[in-house]
């Protein structure tokens, strides 16, 4: 109990410190929202159509949504959540990254075949092999008690 109170006080102090420093700007002034496909007349998936690949604010070339983006956006998302948020709401990410969803992403978005969704087709059979070879890839999304409910009927 005493530990929790001390932790709470510590967090409050850190929050106050954070709030006090909040007046200091980083200068990386990205907009809250990106122009939409309707505004641009095209889907803004290829950043380098308008921005330099190595811009002053961002390495736009590393954010191009090419054919491997669905599998490889992890590193960019770790550090640049606000860049993702310019076009996507969290609900978009929640199709795959959420504490508990019942439908796999490719089932919920069955007709969006262009999105290269994970687990497309009969993944029930294929996961036996992928899971044996690299269980770390399963753990990232199914690693906590609530998300592992999907695994429980067979794995207990």
């Amino acid at each position: 109990m005493r530990t929790n109170i001390l932790l709470g006080l510590g967090l409050c102090l850190l929050l106050l410190g954070l709030a006090a420093c909040a007046a200091l700007d980083s200068g990386m002034d990205l907009p809250f929202r990106h122009l939409s496909a309707e505004d641009l007349g095209e889907s803004p998936k290829t950043c380098t159509n308008c921005h330099d690949a190595r811009g002053e604010k961002l390495a736009f070339g590393d954010f191009v949504h090419n054919a491997t983006w669905m599998q490889n956006h992890r590193m960019q998302a770790y550090q640049h959540e606000q860049v993702c948020a310019m076009c996507h709401q969290t609900s978009f990410c929640n199709d795959c990254h959420a504490t508990r969803v019942e439908l796999k992403p490719s089932d919920k978005n069955d007709t969006e075949t262009y999105r290269q969704m994970p687990h497309r087709g009969d993944y029930l059979s294929r996961h036996r092999i992928d899971g044996r070879i690299d269980p770390t890839s399963c753990f990232r999304c199914h690693g906590n008690p609530k998300m592992s409910k999907t695994c429980a009927p067979c794995h207990g």
């Binding site: 490889n72 709401q89 075949t113 008690p145």
Partner: protein, 439 residues
């Protein structure tokens, strides 16, 4: 238990989280009128699925789950200030054939009040939310605050109750807290250190620290990396690093990953059943490989992938090789294909995968459809699974938008013949509705 989580057909709401959400809604209602002169947006996706399954009491019983995904946003688009965001899903089995253990189920994925200031990118969120902060990819019921800390630093802190542990022995004594401090120089580098601690019933469940890095070098070379340290087991759980650079028109992404199972899977009470056994295996997995992407003209993209898996204890190694070709128009019209080979350490870990797909939203005039989609996935296994050596999946979908694109109807049908299902047919109708109004 989440606010929508139910069992036995009766809705039960977590009292503590109910109070929390109640407070958030109350705060939302207290927003100044000028802020409420904003925009409310409601997005609803209603899914009706139909398929057959054998249940404990019936053979080929019809299963007809009805899903509702509801998203509500109240904010001032393009402007900082106060906002409220909510998103969740619920499922109801229309013909309760015991296929689902609960006839109804659901989850509030997020529901939070947000305050944003343009100065220093200050952001505060109160309520249920998904936190992506270095070592944290967690849903919490709590508070998260982030801000720039001058020109070269930024920081974030969060604390609350972990949603992922809400099914483990109630929520008393469950706590999660952590944060990330980053040092950055725009267009040069971003270096972050992060920390996360989770307690379950006041006992330590997980404690992790991590480092994340992006660095930009001349000639278009970028380096990205992430390492996590398990402070409970006192070892590095993961190292993941990748380079990205162009060679003429080709983009290359070589990468390297190393996982120590004890430190990666050793997350105490936060761990889950299929992975718990791996904690004591003393195994180390090393993965390296590269992607190669080559645009050809304005429409074609060719991709090659190679991945190698090596183990400290398990004898042998595995490789995955794949090639992909996609043709796409300026809009969403795409045709593509992929062929991949998983060459595992023995026959039971080998397969060949072929996928062909299309999505066409440029149909001839007179066709009363907005799009047609198709997908075909064929997998051949070197060693039979339940006496079957292959999987075949085929999917066909159509859709159309109405009411100035506010309403969209989608219908899809799937066929699968595989080791688990002889001839499985599934259908799904999706009704999506988007409503915006200025308050």
């Amino acid at each position: 238990m989440g606010i929508f989580s139910c069992s036995g057909g009766s809705m039960r709401t977590s009292a503590s989280f109910g109070r929390f959400l109640g407070l958030a809604i109350l705060l939302a209602l207290c927003m100044p009128i000028s802020v409420l002169a904003a925009e409310v947006s409601v997005k609803s996706d209603t899914l009706l699925r139909i398929f057959q399954r054998d249940t404990a009491t019936k053979t080929d019983a019809a299963v007809t789950p009805f899903y509702e995904y509801l998203q509500v946003d109240v904010d001032t688009p393009d402007e900082p200030g106060l906002a409220f965001h909510l998103y969740g899903w619920g499922r109801w089995d229309m013909v309760d054939n015991d296929y689902y253990s609960d006839a109804t189920a659901g989850e509030l994925l997020y529901g939070y009040l947000e305050y944003t200031r343009k100065e220093a990118h200050f952001n505060a969120r109160l309520g249920r939310q998904q936190v992506f902060e270095g070592v944290a990819n967690e849903a919490i019921d709590g508070l998260r605050v982030s801000s720039d800390l001058g020109k070269y630093f930024s920081g974030s802190l969060y604390a609350g109750q972990p949603v992922g542990l809400s099914t483990e022995n109630g929520r008393d004594g469950d706590i999660i807290y952590g944060g990330r401090l980053a040092n950055h120089l725009a267009s040069w580098y971003d270096l972050g250190v992060s920390y996360k601690k989770i307690e379950n019933n006041s006992k330590e469940a997980e404690e992790t620290a991590g480092v994340d890095l992006s660095a930009y070098f001349p000639a278009g070379i970028s380096l990205y990396g992430f390492s996590s340290y398990n402070t409970s087991y006192k070892g590095w759980g993961e190292h993941s690093y990748e380079l990205r650079f162009p060679v003429g028109p080709v983009s290359l992404r070589p990468y390297f990953q190393k996982f120590q199972y004890q430190d990666y899977f050793g997350t105490g009470a936060n761990s889950a059943s299929p992975f718990r056994a791996l904690v004591n295996s003393d195994e180390e997995l090393t993965v390296f490989g590269s992607d190669l992407t080559l645009p050809v003209g304005d429409s074609w993209t060719l991709v090659a992938k190679a991945k190698h898996y090596d183990y400290k204890i398990l004898a042998g190694s595995s490789q995955y090789l794949a090639a992909q070709a996609t043709w796409s128009s300026e809009r969403h019209y795409q045709i593509g294909g992929e062929i991949g080979f998983m060459n595992g350490d023995d026959d039971q870990n080998k397969y060949t995968l072929v996928r062909l797909f299309t999505y066409c939203d440029q149909l001839p005039e007179g066709v009363p459809l907005g799009f047609v989609s198709g997908d075909l996935v064929y997998v051949s296994y070197n060693q039979d699974i339940y006496g079957e050596g292959r999987s075949l999946f085929a999917s066909l979908g159509v859709g159309q938008k109405y009411l100035d694109d506010a309403l969209e109807l989608k219908l899809s049908g799937d066929y699968s013949a595989d080791p688990y299902f002889d001839k499985d047919l599934r259908a799904m109708l999706t009704v999506s509705y988007h409503f915006d109004r200025n308050l």
